[in-house]
């Protein structure tokens, strides 16, 4: 079955991982396409791989969201070896007893759905790594 990543910066395959556009001048990293670097203003980027493990630096447990979004879910901010990544914290009960600041997490993939052509979209999240 064909698979497509939810976002361009998610690379699927045997070893799913995130990539970023890194400014070759100042090292700032961007998950989206940038016309120039928001940090230094230069316009040359290279692709770099982001570490797949990290520390949960912040989170919230969302109980009210836009229509079509399943709640509750845990939205988090993960420090992946110096690069901050946004993602849901998955494979853990969504409550403050099980999700704690500073916990170790690792990248994992999450199914998003399948379109009429049979292509599966795949997203990502972070799960407890301990």
């Amino acid at each position: 079955m064909d698979r497509i990543p939810l976002v361009d910066y998610l690379v699927l395959g045997d070893d799913p991982h995130l990539v970023a556009n890194e400014c070759t001048s100042c090292g700032a990293r961007y998950f989206d396409r940038r016309s120039a670097c928001a940090s230094c203003g230069l316009q040359d980027f290279r692709t770099v791989e982001i570490a797949g493990t990290g520390t949960l630096r912040s989170f919230t447990i969302v109980h009210f969201a836009a229509e079509g979004v399943e709640v509750p879910f845990v939205a988090g901010l993960v420090d992946c070896d110096g690069t901050s990544v946004r993602g849901n914290v998955v494979n853990v009960p969504p409550d403050p007893e099980h999700v704690t600041l500073g916990m170790k997490v690792r990248l994992t993939t999450v199914p998003v759905g399948t379109d009429e052509a049979g292509v599966e979209a795949v997203g990502y999240g972070f799960e407890p790594a301990s």
């Binding site: 919230t60 969302v62 849901n88």
Partner: protein
């Protein structure tokens, strides 16, 4: 050196549900109120800064058709929740630039019953996946890659502070909300004037942990307006006008400088710290000189980080600052004695002028039951995601 600019008149409508009033009714009420408070007429005004986010555009000119079309330059501005402060800044800049000696700024919003304001409204596509936007996303990211809801974003902003410095738990955040709701009981213009216990707040409906419903800013309708005047012009006006005028000792607008994590979680800290530092320098005062502060408590989790960002406490000391009782109205640095956005309400574009109205009203000694005794200096802070931060320092008239 450009000359000083003063607030000559200022007005805020009641915040809440105004079923039978449109944005023009509310904007007119605020504008006419500010003109009357200033003791001037629309023909004395040389520039209009106008803020409204949710309407159909061109608010400033629509307002002129209700209060007087005099041909003056109109600047319709937007800066998310800092829209009102931005409108005020434009009026101030026009005066400082010597383009006029008197300006009007108006902010208005109809938001009652608006529900959750969420970022991502892209409809899921039928048929087949299509990559869209600068992330090449095949589906909406809200809920799939973190959250774009405001309560959730600001929850993470508060939790991150807790991670860095410790001590910021659910109860602490709820306590901040308890304070603001308690303050609101003295503010007849607040949308909600109800005191809550800590238990009530913590056991209310959870929106985005740790923010429960009473810890979120209240969507409501309202407007606020201010008349600003050059110091030279003010000195030609009546003694009563000079006595009630409020000096704008600092007026600062910033955006967020690049920071490592700002692409994944809005950084409301750096731009606020820079705005505050610049404001203290402009005003020639320090945080210890502030008799009261209105800061942008769009969520209880936000208020905590701004104690630190505005240097009301030592770096990293916001939790201790709150626990000491300092930001209560009888504390060392009263914060949000209006009740804050959580109880006074948050009609977006009005907020950045309404907080200045609150400070000005205390400096004039006209705050009634909730008057902070002998208030001489105050600070008003507002932040809109994107981001834009407005900080104003106001001083009681010594003219």
């Amino acid at each position: 050196m450009a000359e000083n600019v003063w607030i000559l008149g200022i007005h805020m409508t009641n915040f809440g549900k105004h079923r039978d009033k449109d944005i023009l009714d509310l904007g007119s009420e605020a504008a006419i109120g500010a003109l009357q408070d200033a003791g001037v007429g629309i023909k004395d005004i040389g520039v209009l800064g106008a803020g409204n986010l949710m309407g159909r555009g061109g608010f400033g000119q629509l307002l002129q058709k209700q209060i007087g079309q005099t041909g003056i330059p109109v600047y319709n501005v937007t800066n998310a929740c800092a829209t009102g402060a931005t409108a005020l800044r434009v009026a101030i800049m026009a005066v400082k630039a010597g383009e006029t000696d008197m300006g009007l700024a108006v902010g208005v919003e109809k938001l009652a019953g608006a529900g959750l304001l969420s970022g991502n409204v892209r409809a899921a596509e039928g048929g087949h996946w299509v990559r869209d936007g600068r992330y090449g996303a095949v589906a909406p990211l809200d809920g799939r890659v973190g959250t774009e809801t405001m309560p959730g974003v600001f929850a993470q902003i508060g939790m991150e502070y807790g991670h860095r410095y410790g001590g910021a738990d659910f109860e602490l955040f709820a306590g901040i909300s308890e304070k603001n709701h308690a303050h609101s009981t003295l503010n007849p213009k607040a949308a909600y004037q109800k005191r809550f216990t800590l238990d009530e707040i913590m056991n209310d409906m959870m929106i985005a942990y740790p923010n429960t419903r009473p810890m979120c800013s209240a969507n409501c309708d309202g407007a606020a307006a201010a008349v600003v005047v050059s110091e030279a012009k003010l000195r030609t006006l009546s003694l009563e006008q000079q006595r009630r005028a409020v000096k704008i000792s600092a007026s600062v607008l910033t955006s967020d400088p690049y920071q490592e994590a700002c692409q994944v979680l809005p950084d409301v800290n750096t731009l606020t710290r820079q705005a505050a530092a610049t404001a203290y320098e402009q005003a020639g005062i320090g945080p210890e000189d502030l008799d009261l502060v209105e800061l942008h408590d769009c969520f209880a989790t936000a208020e905590l980080v701004h104690y630190d960002n505005l240097s009301l406490c030592e770096p990293g000391g916001a939790v201790d600052f709150f626990k000491s009782g300092a930001p209560w109205r009888d504390g060392r640095t009263p914060v949000n004695v209006s009740g804050g956005l959580q109880s006074k309400g948050h009609p977006i574009s009005a907020t950045g002028i309404a907080n200045i109205w609150e400070i000005a009203t205390h400096l004039r000694g006209e705050a009634g039951e909730r008057q902070i005794a002998d208030a001489k200096v105050g600070m008003a802070h507002v932040i809109g995601l994107g981001s834009a931060c407005g900080v104003h320092v106001l001083e009681k008239s010594a003219l």
